[in-house]
C-alpha cells in the first residue's frame, strides 16, 4: 500500500470522529498508535485460537445446586 493510501485511511478513520480539534486529533492518534503497537504481541498469541466469547466464560459460574441463601440461617 502506498503511503498516500495510508494517509487516506488514517484521515478517513479520524474523520469518523466529529469535531476534533488539531490538538485532540494529535493526542488521539498517538494513543491509537500505542494501542495498535501493543497488538503485535496479541497477534502472535491469537494465532491458531478461536475467539473467546462471554458465554463460554459465563458457563464457569453456573450456580451450584442446593439450598438458597438464607436457608442455613
Amino acid at each position: 500500500m502506498s503511503s498516500e493510501n495510508e494517509d487516506w485511511l488514517g484521515e478517513a478513520a479520524l474523520g469518523a470522529v466529529r469535531g476534533l480539534r488539531d490538538e485532540e486529533k494529535k493526542r488521539l492518534s498517538a494513543r491509537l498508535a500505542s494501542v495498535r503497537d501493543s497488538m503485535k504481541s496479541l497477534r502472535a498469541a491469537a494465532s491458531g485460537e478461536e475467539p473467546l466469547f462471554p458465554s463460554e466464560l459465563e458457563r464457569e459460574a453456573e450456580p451450584e445446586s442446593g439450598p438458597q441463601p438464607g436457608d442455613a440461617r
Binding site: 494501542v35 497488538m39 485460537e49 475467539p51 462471554p54 466464560l57 459460574a61 450456580p63
Partner: protein
C-alpha cells in the same frame, strides 16, 4: 449504644439489634442518612433517597412486627453504584447524558437484595460511565477519599467505597470492568469482591464492556461481603465448621513475583509480604508461579474494552460529544478507531490467556498479590507514587482477572506511613469464591490485633 459503633458494625450484629427490637430499621436508616448528609463534601452520592428510604424502612419494621422477616438483610440499609437500575430512581451512570434516566424496574441484582430485606439508601457516585479509575467526575464532583480528602477514592465504584469507609450503609453493589470494585476498595480500606464472570446478573446494569463487566459486593468486613455475594448470586457458600489455629492448612498460595510484585511501592510490597507471612503462619504453603501470558493481558483487555465501550455509547458519542467529560470522550473516540480485526485478535488471544491461567491455577488455590502498586494519589495527579501512569498503574494488577473472568477480592492489610490504606488481592479459579472468601476471612481474623478493617477515618 454509640451511633458510630452501630454505623460501623458488621451486618449480623445490626441484624441482631433489629431482631431483638433494640433498634428499628427506621432509626437505622435515619442514622445513615444523617451521616451521609453530614459528609456531603465527600461526594460519595449522586442521589440519596431520604423519604423513600425512610418509607421503605417503616415498611420493613411493620413487616417485622407482623412476624414477616424477608431474609438476612431485613431492614439493613445498602447502597448501589449509580449505574444499577432502581425502579423510579434516576440512574445517571455518572453521566450528564443519562441525568434524566429513570428506570421502570430494578436490576435483578438489586431486586434480590430487596427480596432479602435490604433498604436502598442511595445511589453512589462513580467515574463517568464507569470508564475510569480516578472517580474525578466532571458532572457530580470528585469523590474524595475519607482517609485524606485531597486524594482520590479510586474508581469506578468510588462512591460505594467512600460511603462504606465513612460508615454509611452496610454494603454496596459495585461493578468491575478492569478493577472498579477492587481498586477503590483498596484505596479506601474496605473489602470488595469481583466474582467469576457471570456469577451475578448484569441485567439492568449500564454496560461498559459486556465481556469484561462484573457486578460485585462491597462492604467493610469479609463476612459481610460473603453474605451479600450469596444473596446477589443466589447461591450458598460452604460454611466453615469451626475456627482452628491453622485454618489454611493445605492451602496452596500462589506468588507471582514477576509482574504482580514488580514496580510496587516499597511500603506496599513490605505490607503485602507481611500479609503473605501471616497466611503462611495460618498453614498456607507458598507455590512460586509464573504465567507468561500475563504480560499481554493488558493489551487484550484494553482492546476489548475500548471497542465494546465505543460500540455501546457510539450514538451518544457521535451526537452529543460535548456532554461527555474530556477523558471519557477521548477513550470512547479511541474505541471507534479500533479495527474489527484487532478486536477479534484480542478475543482470540484471550482464549490463550484464560487457558494459561487455568493451567497455572491447577498448581495452587489462591493467588496472593498487592491490589494496587501504590496507595491513593492526590486528586488531579496523573501518576502514582511509583511513577506509573495513574490509569495504567491502577489497572495493572487488577485487570488480569477481568481478562480471565476469575474471581478476585481486595481486603485491607495495612496503611502507609501517612495513613493511606493498602489493599491485599486474592484471586482463585472460576467458581471458587468460597475458597477465596475462606482465605480472606482467615486472614482478617488473624489480624485481630491490628484489625485493619475496623479502623475508621476521621469523618
Amino acid at each position: 449504644v454509640n451511633p458510630d459503633d452501630v454505623a460501623y458494625a458488621p451486618i449480623d450484629a445490626v441484624a441482631s439489634l433489629l431482631s431483638h427490637g433494640e433498634l428499628s430499621s427506621e432509626e437505622l436508616v435515619g442514622l445513615h442518612l444523617e451521616r451521609a448528609h453530614s459528609q456531603a463534601e465527600l461526594n460519595a452520592f449522586i442521589s440519596l433517597l431520604d423519604e423513600g428510604a425512610i418509607e421503605e424502612a417503616r415498611r420493613s419494621d411493620d413487616e417485622r412486627r407482623r412476624g414477616r422477616v424477608r431474609g438476612p438483610l431485613h431492614g439493613i440499609p445498602l447502597t448501589a453504584k449509580d449505574l444499577v437500575w432502581a425502579k423510579g430512581v434516576r440512574t445517571t451512570s455518572g453521566s450528564k447524558i443519562f441525568a434524566g434516566f429513570v428506570p421502570d424496574r430494578d436490576a435483578p441484582v438489586l431486586a434480590r437484595l430487596r427480596a432479602a430485606g435490604a433498604v436502598l439508601l442511595g445511589k453512589t457516585n462513580l467515574h463517568e460511565l464507569a470508564y475510569g479509575v480516578s472517580n474525578v467526575n466532571p458532572h457530580y464532583g470528585p469523590v474524595r477519599n475519607p482517609w485524606d480528602r485531597r486524594r482520590i477514592s479510586g474508581g469506578s465504584s468510588g462512591g460505594s467505597a467512600v460511603s462504606l469507609a465513612a460508615g454509611v450503609g452496610y454494603g454496596s453493589i459495585g461493578t468491575d470492568t478492569g478493577g472498579s470494585v477492587r481498586i477503590p476498595s483498596a484505596l479506601c480500606g474496605i473489602v470488595g469482591l469481583k466474582p467469576t464472570y457471570g456469577a451475578i446478573s448484569r441485567e439492568g446494569v449500564t454496560p461498559l464492556s459486556w465481556s469484561l463487566d462484573h457486578v460485585g459486593p462491597m462492604a467493610r468486613r469479609v463476612e459481610d461481603v460473603a453474605l451479600l455475594f450469596e444473596v446477589m448470586a443466589g447461591r450458598n457458600l460452604p460454611r466453615r465448621a469451626k475456627s482452628s489455629p491453622a485454618p489454611l492448612s493445605g492451602t496452596r498460595l500462589g506468588i507471582h513475583g514477576r509482574y504482580f510484585f514488580e514496580n510496587v511501592d516499597e511500603e506496599v510490597s513490605v505490607t503485602v509480604e507481611r500479609a503473605v507471612a501471616a497466611l503462611v503462619s495460618l498453614g498456607g504453603e507458598i507455590v512460586e508461579v509464573d504465567v507468561p501470558e500475563v504480560a499481554i493481558q493488558g493489551a487484550c483487555r484494553n482492546t476489548i474494552a475500548f471497542a465494546e465501550a465505543a460500540s455501546f455509547h457510539e450514538e451518544d458519542l457521535r451526537n452529543r460529544p460535548e456532554e461527555l467529560g474530556a477523558d471519557t470522550r477521548e477513550l470512547l473516540r479511541l474505541g471507534l478507531l479500533i479495527p474489527a480485526t484487532d478486536y477479534l485478535a484480542a478475543l482470540r488471544a484471550r482464549r490463550r490467556i484464560v487457558r494459561s491461567f487455568r493451567n497455572a491455577f491447577a498448581a495452587f488455590d489462591v493467588l496472593v498479590a498487592p491490589m494496587t502498586p501504590s496507595a491513593a494519589p492526590e486528586i488531579g495527579a496523573s501518576v502514582l507514587d511509583n511513577g506509573e501512569d495513574l490509569r495504567a498503574g491502577l489497572l495493572r494488577l487488577a485487570s488480569p482477572f477481568n481478562t480471565t473472568g476469575f474471581p478476585a477480592i481486595s481486603l485491607p492489610c495495612g496503611f502507609t506511613g501517612d495513613g493511606r490504606p493498602i489493599g491485599l488481592q486474592l484471586a482463585a479459579a472460576p467458581g471458587q469464591e468460597g475458597r477465596l472468601l475462606e482465605v480472606a476471612l482467615a486472614y482478617q481474623e488473624s489480624q485481630s490485633e491490628a484489625d485493619w478493617s475496623m479502623r475508621r477515618p476521621a469523618v
